[in-house]
């Protein structure tokens, strides 16, 4: 197959799967939450409630789209599009299997950091343009949170880049075919995971929506599919964060210590194995995201800032320096 055709097929499949994954994630969230809370969860729409996401989306589409009278109408409309768009373009550089990627640019890691931090604009603008005090507080929190967690996340990624010696995502994944970075760079893994939770605005870092105090925060004034877009974006970001944790620290599509024992396979079989492994790992992290959300309380704004600037950032710098020194000594 020509590389271009393959890219197109992968892109189509990836986008389709990503959009669907949000629906699956919603279903999973509700079922796992129900499991954690000793409930049954949605089980009426379709077999085992599997069609519940469709019912959810239908409901959202049929709802009245309300824009508050004093809202800034244009920004209010544009804001929900931004997180969805950034979530969709993030997937461009993630390798799903051997040779299965949409594009292989040599600054993939930088691209990821740049794109993933864009989504906060949507949240902040939504908070500001709604002209509601609760939304404004939510939007401001989002901005503050993004700044405090971009840096540790960048440092964690940088330590992986050091190990791989490349910014290219494909190189980073292939470098883990024997040793996953979670073994080589455990501190970086912890920092990245914490930052990923903060980036996706999930509990314990969901101060941006903070159901109990800010009544939904930035999306208080949204309804219908505009709200649906935020909803979709949140779950897409969770899926993408799971993919990134998998890619950076859990060897992407590689089985553990694959170099040592995995036999040669035909390219079709290899493709199937790769994608299954990748999906399984992503699914596991998706579960962790949901598990954490329904178990532990939320941080306070000040505590979150302290954790970011006071604990994670110095730890990230230290981790980066130590890895750099070790690598220098080994060469």
């Amino acid at each position: 197959m020509e590389p271009f055709t393959l890219q197109m097929i992968v892109m189509g499949t990836a986008l389709f799967m990503l959009l669907n994954s949000a629906a699956i994630a919603v279903y999973l969230e509700r079922r796992v939450a129900a499991f954690i809370q000793n409930r049954v969860g949605p089980n009426r729409v379709g077999p085992m409630g599997l069609l519940q996401p469709i019912a959810d989306v239908l409901k959202l589409i049929l709802k009245e789209d309300v824009t508050p009278i004093h809202a800034y109408k244009h920004l209010h409309t544009i804001a929900p599009i931004i997180p969805v768009a950034t979530a969709l373009v993030t997937v461009a550089v993630i390798p799903f299997g051997d040779g299965l990627y949409i594009t292989n640019i040599n600054v993939g890691a930088l691209y990821l950091l740049a794109v993933s931090s864009m989504s906060v604009y949507g949240v902040t603008l939504a908070g500001w343009s709604s002209n509601s005090k609760y939304s404004l507080l939510g939007g401001l929190r989002a901005a503050a949170q993004m700044i405090s967690y971009e840096l540790p996340m960048g440092l964690a990624v940088a330590s992986c880049v050091l190990l791989a010696g490349s910014l290219n995502m494909v190189d980073i994944v292939n470098d883990q075919s024997m040793w996953w970075y979670v073994f080589l760079n455990p501190v970086g893994f912890v920092i990245f995971t914490v930052a990923a939770f903060a980036e996706t605005n999930r509990t314990p870092f969901d101060l941006v929506e903070a159901e109990q105090e800010l009544v939904g925060g930035f999306h208080t004034e949204y309804s219908s599919m505009k709200f649906g877009m935020f909803f979709l974006a949140e779950y897409m970001h969770v899926v993408i964060a799971s993919m990134l944790i998998t890619t950076f620290f859990f060897g992407g599509y590689h089985l553990p210590f694959a170099d040592a024992w995995l036999p040669e396979m035909s390219s079709t079989l290899k493709m199937i194995v790769d994608i299954s492994v990748f999906v399984a790992k992503t699914g596991f992290w998706l579960f962790v995201f949901i598990w954490v959300r329904w178990t532990i309380p939320r941080f306070k704004y000040t505590q979150l800032m302290r954790l970011g600037w006071h604990n994670l950032l110095p730890l990230g710098i230290l981790n980066f320096t130590v890895i750099a020194i070790i690598l220098k000594l080994m060469n």
């Binding site: 954690i36 609760y134 507080l137 109990q212 309380p297 939320r298 306070k300």
Partner: protein, 433 residues
């Protein structure tokens, strides 16, 4: 032209029109609260914002309204606005017989209705000088302690949910559900029980109910251990509550704080120990106290109270004597249904009790308080010799506890507001009456 006029109308609709004077006086009182702070001079950059929280807010436990003046996320000043659930219960009481007023007490502190029933009955019985049989006293104690557990479980679930852990609410509700089932068996109602009667209780407790209570209390001990493991050692929960909203002992006394809030400041004031009612002097239990007075201390005190309530219930079940459950005096209590159905006197007595009810002596008044789950719940009744109270005044713990909130909120953050409201555990039905 037509179009623009229409638009103006819509914009006008967006403005708050209701209770304009009330709004203005509230905002004014917000500015007046600390006269030392000059509102306009101190804020050249316009960084301050007035945030209106409630009455329709998911975390204000009903219809509490909190006005906050914020600098960023820090609360500079605050004002509470209560009364959105005012139903005039005290006035209603003047037009009801003592027995008829019982269901209204259910709806005051609707999280522990049994305790409200008992408080009302005890006050009336003190007024009319009725001594109820021992078995009824023990049944009332069991009911009150179950109500305390039910209320504390809701506090636990709601406060932890306010701090962000949503599942906890449902875990505590599973246990509350069992209490509802027990009340269903015991009183015939799940929520608003009205099981207590003047001169005793409505129905006797039977063996299957006793078994349910025993199963429940055995299970709850395990659950309390689990919850403590989940919360007390959880760094996030600990930090969210440690040092939040501290109140000194002097302030607590000056503001009339009672219940777990007061005990968290170091005073072991518990009506059950100070002026034992029912048979509380015959059971063993401890009054847990802490010294810090902050939200975490309130958490520890209430969790310990849960264990103590279980302990009291176990003892009550062990000591439960045989005997009648209501006074055998047609002027002081309803006759049993057997009498009503099979004897003429019984029917007449039943009719008279419903029509006229208990008539305490003329001109007497009394105050009786019990330790309800939220604090000291007292009823002051004045009698004019008829079957209706001449005047009823209710000292409800939620109202006095809410006074404290205004004092502890200053200097905290927006996120602390909901945790503090949860920690003080007001019930607006109780506060607004």
């Amino acid at each position: 032209m037509e179009h623009s006029v229409k638009n103006v109308k819509i914009v006008e609709k967006g403005q708050p029109l209701f209770f304009k004077e009330h709004q203005e006086s509230l905002y004014k009182s917000l500015e007046d609260k600390h006269t030392t702070i000059e509102f306009s001079d101190d804020d050249p950059l316009g960084t301050r914002m007035i945030l209106n929280m409630g009455p329709q807010h998911p975390a204000t436990h009903g219809v509490l309204r909190v006005l906050l003046e914020l600098d960023g996320e820090t609360i500079l000043k605050n004002r509470l606005d209560v009364g959105y659930l005012h139903r005039g219960v005290e006035k209603i009481a003047e037009n009801k017989t003592y027995q008829e007023f019982m269901p209204y007490t259910d709806r005051m502190d609707y999280l522990s209705p049994y305790a409200s029933n008992v408080a009302w009955c005890l006050a009336v019985e003190k007024l009319a000088q009725i001594t109820i049989p021992e078995r009824a006293q023990y049944i009332r104690m069991i009911g009150s302690e179950l109500a305390r557990i039910s209320s504390h479980l809701l506090w636990l679930g709601a406060m932890v949910m306010d701090s962000g852990a949503i599942s906890m609410f449902i875990w505590t509700f599973r246990e509350r559900e069992k209490i509802y089932d027990i009340f269903d068996q015991l009183a015939g109602h799940r929520f608003t029980v009205s099981h207590s009667r003047i001169g005793g209780v409505a129905f006797d407790i039977n063996d299957s109910t006793i078994k349910m209570i025993r199963d429940f209390s055995a299970n709850l001990k395990k659950e309390i251990k689990d919850w403590n493991k989940l919360l007390a050692k959880n760094r996030i929960f600990f930090d969210r509550n440690n040092g939040i909203g501290p109140i000194t002992t002097e302030n607590a006394i000056a503001l009339g704080l009672t219940g777990a809030g007061l005990r968290a400041t170091g005073i072991a004031y518990d009506v059950r120990k100070f002026a034992p009612y029912l048979k509380y002097n015959e059971v063993e239990f401890e009054v847990p106290t802490r010294l810090e007075g902050d939200n975490l201390a309130r958490y520890y005190v209430r969790m310990e109270e849960l264990s103590q309530a279980v302990r009291i219930i176990d003892q009550c079940l062990d000591k439960l004597p045989k005997g009648p459950i209501r006074v055998d005096d047609a002027k002081k209590a309803y006759p049993s249904k057997d009498e009503v159905y099979y004897s003429m006197e019984g029917l007449i007595h039943d009719f008279m009790m419903t029509d006229t009810g208990v008539c305490p002596p003329e001109g007497v008044s009394c105050f009786h308080s019990i330790e309800a789950s939220k604090g000291e719940l007292g009823y002051y009744i004045e009698s004019d010799g008829t079957g209706h109270p001449w005047r009823v005044k209710i000292k409800s713990p939620s109202l006095t506890n809410l006074q404290v909130l205004e004092h502890v909120l200053d200097g905290q953050m927006v996120a602390d507001t909901v945790v503090l409201i949860g920690g003080l555990d007001p019930v607006m039905g109780d506060a607004d009456k």
